[in-house]
């Protein structure tokens, strides 16, 4: 591995640690941001004093804040995130059971975004200025402006209620994945369409494109092999940045479609005021988000030798 790459990796790793610590600290203080007594909020005012004391002790809230913080960090390192108030299992087990569903949804949403945006952007760039181009831009604008908490119900009305083609909710098979993936992926498809179209138009007049045409390479080959490949870089940047957001955005999509992922678990925990579980869920999503961004950033820098490591 070249020294410059190694130095970059070390620097990126050095930044990862304070970032993770910052996220953990924010999550730790969540429970302390509860106005009043968190134990009373969780159990309700009518709970007995003994029950309150028991919960306070089990959550460690009877200890000084720095001891709580130290124990919290130690717990995160050992994977011990405490006990859910209402479920009969640990927070870490509940999260482990739900994470795969969320990753499955986020990956499918990414796939939807690619499948929609690539043909649209190519169509728009090759037919620049025509109604096809304007249509693709309109799709992008509407996709960017459409919140997923509206798109989801609209898709349910059309495909589940009116046409009866797809199930409304749950996670029983491939058919259940389609509507949630569309809901989560459309926003990203809109962004990618815009970026890829602009990027294609930028490389259109490059020398290598002219050279390929002059050599007699077919127009399809010029677009797919010479232009698309070179126009992909900003698209990959955005894709890697946005994949993490898909994990966070899944909270709403999972709630709409009763998708049994960690986003829905978070909202259920919020509704039952199960704060240890809320804390665990937020922690899991945030740490996944940070790691996904870290890995995609490294992967993308290593994949493209033209990127400098100076910044």
């Amino acid at each position: 591995m070249p020294a410059v790459v190694r130095r970059y990796l070390l620097r990126r790793l050095a930044l990862l640690l304070p970032t993770l610590l910052g996220a953990l600290t924010l999550v730790f203080f969540l429970i302390h941001a509860v106005p009043g007594d968190p134990v009373e909020v969780m159990l309700g005012e009518t709970a007995g004093a003994a029950d309150k004391e028991e919960l306070r002790r089990s959550l460690g809230l009877d200890q000084p804040v720095y001891t709580q913080y130290r124990n919290f960090l130690a717990g995160v390192v050992t994977g011990e995130l405490g006990q859910s108030l209402y479920e009969q299992s640990g927070v870490a087990e509940l999260i482990r059971a739900r994470l795969p569903a969320t990753f499955e949804l986020a990956l499918c949403a990414l796939l939807v975004a690619i499948l929609l945006s690539f043909p649209l952007a190519l169509l728009a760039a090759t037919k620049r200025g025509t109604w096809r181009d304007r249509g693709a831009l309109l799709f992008s604008l509407v996709g960017l402006s459409m919140p997923n908490f509206w798109l989801g119900p609209l898709l349910i009305i059309l495909f589940s209620i009116q046409l009866g083609w797809l199930p409304v909710s749950g996670r029983a098979g491939l058919a259940n994945l389609i509507l949630p993936s569309l809901t989560l992926g459309l926003g990203m498809a809109a962004i990618l369409t815009r970026i890829l179209r602009a990027s294609l138009l930028r490389v259109r007049n490059e020398d290598y494109v002219q050279a390929a045409r002059a050599k007699g390479v077919s127009e399809t080959q010029v677009w797919l092999k010479h232009m698309l490949r070179n126009a992909l870089l900003p698209v990959i940047t955005i894709m890697s940045l946005q994949f993490g957001s898909l994990l966070a955005g899944a909270v709403i999509t999972e709630t709409i479609f009763s998708w049994p992922g960690i986003g829905r678990l978070t909202i259920q925990a919020i509704q039952t005021r199960d704060y240890p579980l809320v804390q665990g869920c937020v922690l899991a999503i945030a740490v996944s988000y940070i790691f996904v961004n870290f890995v995609t950033d490294i992967f993308y820098r290593l994949a493209d030798p033209r990127i400098t490591y100076g910044d």
């Binding site: 930044l15 304070p18 970032t19 910052g22 996220a23 924010l26 999550v27 969540l30 429970i31 941001a33 509860v34 106005p35 604008l141 509407v142 960017l144 402006s145 459409m146 919140p147 908490f149 509206w150 119900p153 609209l154 349910i156 009305i157 209620i161 993490g244 957001s245 994990l247 966070a248 955005g249 909270v251 709403i252 709630t255 709409i256 978070t266 909202i267 919020i270 509704q271 704060y275 809320v278 937020v282 999503i285 945030a286 988000y289 940070i290 961004n293």
Partner: protein, 268 residues
């Protein structure tokens, strides 16, 4: 030019919603919170052109009052975020060295956290309420402005007019406020326009999850959430607030694109 036309269409839509928000008491045909259980889930009538909800409340009136919530939360969030970002970014860019290092690492750390998740978590523990929503959205919202302001100041700092102001003995506060801020306004206004769209969607998301304003205050996100239970029998409950949010955000995106072309044409 096509973009020019769309820019004015965006401005027109925004003015319409702003007028609805400002003149809500005069424009709304009914009291937005008055229940009329005998007339629940009406889809259309002369008294209720956009129908009524489960509690018989007039949808049109709730939409008009909902514009107030969306725009107030959006504007308050953006104003507060820009103010914090301006201060932090100016300090960071103007003074450089360890101040810059410290503040920008803080920005890096906060930006690494998914914003909407933090907002969900904080409104969940703080409890519902407009002020809590604004606070939760500002927690991370300011970071983008701080980074933008810092970058602009770094490039402006070395320009002749700033060097001249410094050489003439201008105090840092005066240099920042009178010489730097006016020059970084265009990019800031563009980012704030897109930021307003994001804040309106975020408020809608929080209200949709039951974490925004407290019922019975009408909010577009909360109306969508209530309508979700009646998708089969009353799809209009979901349709209208969704159209309102989409139109507002669409208009802001159009205006943002237009401003970008007008104020920063060299970037296109």
């Amino acid at each position: 030019m096509a973009t020019e036309r769309w820019f004015y269409i965006g401005i027109g839509i925004l003015l319409l919603f702003a007028a609805a928000a400002l003149l809500a008491p005069a424009l709304a045909p009914h009291d937005a919170t008055r229940q009329d259980l005998a007339n629940d889930l009406v889809s259309y009538s002369i008294q209720h052109p956009l129908g009524t909800d489960k509690l018989g409340r007039d949808i049109l009136s709730r939409l008009i009052y909902g514009a107030r919530i969306s725009l107030t939360v959006g504007l308050a969030t953006v104003a507060l975020s820009v103010a914090i970002g301006l201060v932090i970014g100016s300090l960071s860019g103007y003074f450089g060295s360890w101040v810059d290092q410290l503040l920008m690492r803080l920005v890096d750390i906060l930006m690494a956290f998914p914003g909407i998740l933090l907002a969900i978590a904080f409104t969940a523990v703080l409890g519902p309420g407009l002020d809590h929503v604004v606070l939760a959205l500002c927690l991370i919202g300011w970071t983008g402005y701080a980074r933008l302001v810092r970058g602009e100041i770094l490039s402006l700092r070395e320009r002749d007019f700033i060097q001249a102001a410094r050489a003439l003995g201008c105090k840092p506060s005066r240099t920042i406020l009178h010489h730097l801020v006016p020059n970084l306004l265009p990019p800031l206004v563009i980012q704030a326009t897109f930021g307003l769209a994001a804040a309106i969607i975020a408020e809608g998301s929080l209200s949709f999850l039951g974490l925004g304003v407290e019922p019975p205050t009408p909010s577009w996100g909360a109306m969508l959430n209530e309508g979700r239970q009646f998708l089969l029998v009353a799809p209009h409950l979901t349709a209208y607030p969704g159209i309102a949010i989409m139109l507002t955000v669409l208009a802001l995106n159009l205006v943002g694109d237009g401003l970008q072309q007008k104020l920063e044409p060299h970037d296109h």
